[in-house]
Amino acid sequence: MSMAVVHGRARGSRPGEEVPAAVLFLILAAIPLVTSGYVVYILPQYMLYGILAMSLALLWGNVGILSFGQAAFFALGGYALGIAMKQPLGVNPAYVGLLVALAAAALVAGLVGWFLFSAGVRDSYFVLVTLALSIIAEQIAVSQSQWTGGWNGLFLMRMTLTLGSALEYPLYEDIPAYYAVLLVMVVTYTALRGLTRSRFGKILAGIRENESRMTSLGISTSLYKTLAFSVSAAVASLSGALYGMHSGFVSPSLGGVLFSTEIVVWVAIAGRSSLLAALIGGIAVSSISNLMSAITPQYWQLCIGILFIVVIAYFRGGVAAALPSLVERFRSQP
C-alpha cells in the first residue's frame, strides 16, 4: 500500500462536516428572504447562543475540559460593549467595546487558566472554579451598579458598522442585524474549525487523549490548555457582546450559574465533539427552550432537564456522536 493512500485513508476516516455546515448557513441566509417579523428578530440571538455553544465545544470537545464559566464571559462581553458604547470616544465606541470584550475575557481566562493548569489542578476542580467564576460575574454585575445598572441591567444601542467616512451601515433594522450576526457566526465557525485542524488543535486533541504522553513529547500542556481557555472565553465574550447589542439589554443573570448550566446542556445534548453540532445545539435547544417556556412556564426547565438526562444516559457523546450509528442501523434494516 502506498504511503499517499495510507495517509489519505488514515486522515479521511472521519466524516467532514463542511457540507452540512454550508447547508445550514444557506438555510439561515434564506430565512429573511421568505419570512419576516419575530423569526428574523429572534434568530440572531439563537445564532449567538450557537457561537457561545461552540466556545464550550472548543474546550470540552477538543481538550476535554468542561467549563461552567462560559456565561461569565458572555456577560463580560455584553457589559464591556455596553459600557464602551456609553463613553465619548473618538472612534466607533462599539469597535472599542468589542476589542475590550475580547481582550478582557482572554486575559481573565488566561490568568485563571495559567494559575490553575500550571499548578496541576485536576479537571474536576477546574469545573468547580469555573462555576465560581459565574457566581463572581453575577455578583459583580449586581454590586457594581454605577457601571452595570445592578439588578436593573444595562441598556444598549444597536451598533453602526463604520469604515472611516466611506461606509456607514447601521444595524438598527432587524434584517441588517440578522445578516451581520450570521456573518460573524460563519466566520467564527470557520475560524474555530480551522483552529481545531491546525497544529494547535491537534495538540489540544492529543492532550485530551493522553496528557502525560504529550508532556513526555515536550509539550507544555498547561500553556496549551490556558491558550484554549483564553480563545474559548474570547469567543464567548464576542457572542455576549453581540447578544447585548442585538437584544439591547444585558442583566446579571446572563453571567450566572443557571445560564452556564444551560450552555452545558445545549452542548451535551447536541454533542461536544463537533463544532457544528454544538452550533446547532445552541440554536435548536435554546429555540425549543424558548418555545416550551411559552407553552409551559412552570415545567419547561424540567422537560429540558429530562431530555438532558436521557441523552447523557443513552448517548454519552450527544446526538452528533449517536447519529452515525443510528443511520447505519437504519440502513442495514431490510
Binding site: 500500500m1 495510507v6 495517509h7 500542556t221
Partner: protein
C-alpha cells in the same frame, strides 16, 4: 573521541525511608546503547524516571550533552531530546496509528518540512505501515510497544529511554526490536538506555550491561562478562 551524551553521578532516590536508588554512576556515549537489568524492585524504573524527569532525585546529578538537567521538567528534557517509552505503552488509543505519529512529529523540537514523509519513514521503521489507518487501541500489545517507539522517533529524540520495550512480544518480534534499536544507533546515531528482563533480547542488543541490585550498581560490563560473572549468574541469570 566520542562525546559523552549522558553522564550521571551519585544518583539517589528515597521514598521516605525506602532507598530506591543509591549513588548510581552511569555514562552513555553519543550513539551508544546500554541496557539495565535487575530483579523486580532493583530500582531500574526509578532510575529511568529520574533521567526522564518524571521523578526528582534526592541527590546526584544528570548531565545531558554537558548540560545539567537534574532539575529540568519532563517537557524541557523532551525538548532537549530525551524521550521515554513507558512500561505500559503510553499512546493515543482513540487516534489512528498515523495520527499518533503525526502528533509526535507536530510536537517535535525540529519540525521537518516534509511531515508526511517523516511520518511515513517512522511507520516504516516500526513496521506499522499496514496499520496506519487502524485505531491504536486495536493493535496488539507488541505493536503498541513499537508504536510508542515510533512516537519517540517522530518526536526527534536523541536519547531513547525504553522501559521493557519487548514485553508482550513474540520471539521474532523481540529479535526485530533488537535489530531496530541497533539500526537506529548505527544509521541515525540515536542513543538508547533499555530496561529489560528478556536476557535473549539483551544478548541480541550486543550492548554494555549494567546490573542494578537493591538500588545500587551491582556490576557493569559486556553481556559476555556479565553472564560469566558468577555473582550475577547466581542471582539474576540462573546457573542452569
Amino acid at each position: 573521541m566520542t562525546e559523552t551524551l549522558l553522564r550521571i553521578r551519585g544518583l539517589s532516590k528515597s521514598f521516605g525511608g525506602v532507598i530506591a536508588n543509591a549513588d548510581v554512576d552511569f555514562e552513555l556515549p553519543a550513539g551508544g546503547i546500554a541496557s539495565i537489568i535487575g530483579p523486580n524492585g532493583a530500582g531500574k524504573t526509578t532510575f529511568i524516571s529520574m533521567v526522564s524527569g518524571h521523578l526528582k532525585p534526592t541527590a546526584g546529578s544528570i548531565e545531558f550533552r554537558g548540560r545539567d538537567v537534574t532539575r529540568l521538567s519532563v517537557e524541557k528534557r523532551a525538548r532537549l531530546g530525551i524521550s521515554r517509552k513507558f512500561q505500559t505503552p503510553s499512546i493515543f488509543p482513540n487516534l489512528s496509528v498515523w495520527e499518533n505519529v503525526e502528533l509526535a512529529v507536530l510536537a517535535s523540537r525540529r519540525r521537518p518540512r516534509d511531515s508526511v514523509g517523516r511520518i511515513a519513514q517512522v511507520l516504516d521503521l516500526v513496521r506499522l505501515v499496514e496499520f496506519a489507518e487502524y485505531k491504536a487501541v486495536s493493535l496488539s500489545h507488541g505493536q503498541r510497544q513499537w508504536l510508542e517507539i515510533g512516537l519517540l522517533l517522530g518526536n526527534d529524540a536523541d536519547l531513547l529511554l525504553l522501559d521493557e520495550p519487548t514485553a508482550g512480544m513474540t520471539a521474532a518480534e523481540t529479535h526485530a526490536t533488537a535489530e531496530l534499536i541497533r539500526r537506529l544507533s548505527r544509521e541515525l546515531g540515536l542513543s538508547a538506555v533499555i530496561i529489560e528482563h528478556d536476557i535473549q533480547f539483551i544478548r541480541d542488543l550486543r550492548a554494555p550491561v549494567t546490573v542494578l541490585h537493591l538500588g545500587r550498581v551491582f556490576a557493569q560490563g559486556s553481556f559476555e562478562a556479565i553472564s560469566a560473572d558468577e555473582r550475577v549468574r547466581s542471582i539474576y541469570l540462573g546457573k542452569a
